[in-house]
Symmetry: C2
Subunit: 432 residues, 2 copies
């Protein structure tokens, strides 16, 4: 029988729809990786009665509970009190957390108020879970249900995402691994795919893990990308890693060039690493994406080493004066055309003195397209000019303005990646 | 007693953390607007037993249930079957939905399979809720709990967001308004705030709705913005609108210039409208934001009318050659300085021939800052040059690279907005 879990997220702001519940998703993803079956995800308000009902219900139907929220300094933060009451104990101050808070407050000249003290309490007898990212400690208790004989292994963390992530990684996942008997090993690998749709990814990986015990395959969609996650559980760590490596290699082979990386890679970071490896630099001339492709490259720390800059040549005059696109070329072919994309790429390269220039021109919509001359809304021309010549591609993306801009900017980076890595230009079977 | 609600979202992909649950948030927000108290939000897997338990639990503790998911064509989609079993009825085919599906399929040359037929079933006797955005109809039943005498008014919709939104707007909210006795009118207004933190927004609006019956005030955080929503319920529609207008006016007065708009406004659209009203144009020279400010302006359809373009001058050489920042100025003050921000703004304005130029330079981090010369990580200098001179501001944002880039780009647009609208440069009491 797999271990089952319930994720509880607490807060009036959740139940009023004021914030998106990303904590539940993160917790669900991480528990699923361990082979734990998340069966329930429940959110409720800060009301103490509802909270207690939620605790009892969860303890009655799940082996593990992870609960986030309600550990702050205000009177609305009731998790410690409600858990303590259910356990029949008093809340107590955790001396380590209190000392840490006092040091932190002293360093910025704040004094500790009674409200602040609320934050460093835990139910008496609870196992304290250190919070390296904040003040309120997490804690773990054996939480009883109202139903006789039922209880769950319950973990409590603050609702602030960076604190939740820190306590989860440092304190909770190692304990859950031990509790799940995953003493040896869980090996996890992620592959990142751009340029082919989710259904194609699924199809290409069909049967990949069949016949291999202890392995699971997961997907996650971040438009316009698909993430593929492989989780291998094995008593023996070396064997888990070996199995993972074998499956990742096979998955990469099946996915082909559309798989641009793994782990913490992003398309901008992979392009950046390839530029760095070549000692090369890049500059961009963007029209319909309005600077998004340049911005994406600069999301990577240290990107100033290889991103020389970009031009957003939205107006035709800017295309001409800033990156030397001949006005006659625009007049002849139109601003959204292969020759203009190529001229933008060349112009960016020359003007910035970069190794590579990227040119993007298109019709992001809504509207602006004309079908009679084969220039529909969503048409985008991309070009890269480099030391070994130019490459161009064009696509029509039938989507919202926002999504056309995003996928176009990513596709331009992908075109450069393929050039830098000597990969074929396009992929079969893709629709994105 | 307020009407209470439980939101149920169904799907293995939710419980594995593969997708973010935006449906729950949207439903919670819309129900809250009606004065309904959302007490529980529950997600579970596609498992029929768990689904049935969730239905019983929700029907036992809430007046209203809105359930999304499990209405698709595959064997995993079990909502209709589980609800039918709980009601003791059979699933039946809804003839209108079936006819619509057949017409739609015929128009693209598809044939209807037995799986497709699953999608147009509803429990016998259910009230059918038309789905203008898709194939599977929604439905409404009086759903009994296991607990004797308990039942809830239960609405079922597909999990595809655009279908959920359509059925919610067309079919569910009008019925809930009627059920809640909100026969007359609900008037809703949104205000958008940038530049002051949520707690300051809260403080400034404190007491705003006290003493006015039928009014509620809600917040929603979209970093780096805060949305304020006012909902007025009244039997008389004209009176509801009048009350709303009065409260919105008062809220705008209290929020001051930090409230940049309402409704579907965005900061880029408001800046765009102000530029358009003046017959003015804008160009940008960005460093640390890497093109994001320019991109934000171009997210607005039709922005090519007033955005001439931008330069991402990441390298110092690019600052000099593309937007004429004197190399000596950079050498003297450093690239992240007020004089360089001003020179970037002037350079962008002159090079593009724009009415207004925006300059952004800063240290987005992580790292790169130096405290000995008062240039910490997160320091950003912004400047706008226009027909009536220049304005500059600087801030230190202690946050992640991504968030420093986002808030800086927004702050640059905000500075231009204040110039265009003749508003004071800065706001008291803000920390963002």
């Amino acid at each position: 029988m797999p271990i089952t879990a319930e994720i509880l997220t607490v807060g009036d702001e959740l139940c009023r729809g004021e914030i998106t519940n990303t904590n539940s998703q993160h917790l669900a993803e991480r528990l699923t990786e361990l082979g734990i079956h998340v069966r329930w995800m429940t959110s409720t308000t800060d009301d103490a009665d509802l909270l207690d009902q939620a605790f009892s219900r969860a303890a009655g139907r799940a082996d593990v509970i992870v609960c986030s929220g309600g550990l702050g300094p205000t009177a609305d933060d009731r998790t410690v009190d409600v858990v303590s009451a259910r356990l029949g104990v008093e809340p107590v101050i955790d001396p380590d957390a209190k000392a840490k808070m006092e040091r932190r407050f002293a360093s910025v000249g704040f004094s500790v108020t009674p409200n602040n003290i609320r934050q460093v309490r835990v139910p008496a007898g609870a196992e304290v879970l250190a919070n390296r990212a904040g003040i309120a400690p997490g804690f773990r208790v054996r939480l009883p249900a109202d139903a006789p004989g039922r209880s769950a292994d319950a973990f409590f963390v603050p609702g602030v995402p960076r604190e939740l992530y820190a306590i989860l990684d440092d304190e909770i996942l190692p304990r859950l691994r031990a509790a799940a008997g995953l003493l040896g090993a869980t090996a996890t690998g992620v592959l990142r795919v751009f340029g082919i749709g989710e259904s194609h990814v699924d199809h290409r990986l069909s049967g990949l893990i069949d016949g291999t015990a202890g392995v699971s395959l997961h997907f996650r969609i971040f438009f316009p990308e698909t993430l593929v996650k492989l989780v291998v559980r094995d008593e023996n760590e070396a064997r888990a890693r070996a199995t993972l490596e074998r499956l990742l290699e096979e998955a990469r082979r099946r996915l082909g060039p559309a798989c641009y990386g793994g782990g913490d890679d992003s398309l901008p970071s992979v392009v950046g690493a390839a530029l760095r490896a070549e000692g090369a630099t890049v500059a961009l001339a963007e029209s319909c994406t309005g600077g998004l492709a340049t911005h994406l490259l600069t999301t990577v720390p240290g990107s100033s080493d290889y991103v020389l800059g970009g031009v957003v040549a939205y107006a035709n005059a800017a295309k001409t004066t800033l990156v030397d696109v001949p006005a006659a070329l625009i007049a002849e072919h139109g601003a959204v055309s292969e020759p203009v994309a190529r001229a933008l790429a060349r112009g960016a390269r020359v003007r910035f003195g970069a190794s590579y220039g990227i040119g993007i021109t298109g019709i992001a919509g809504p509207g602006g397209g004309t079908n009679h001359n084969n220039k529909p809304t969503g048409l985008v021309h991309l070009a890269v000019a480099g030391p070994n010549g130019e490459r161009h591609r064009s696509r029509v993306w039938a989507d919202t303005r926002d999504r056309v801009q995003r996928v176009s900017a990513m596709a331009a980076l992908e075109l450069l990646r393929r050039i830098l890595l000597g990969l074929a230009d396009d992929d079969q079977g893709g629709t994105r």
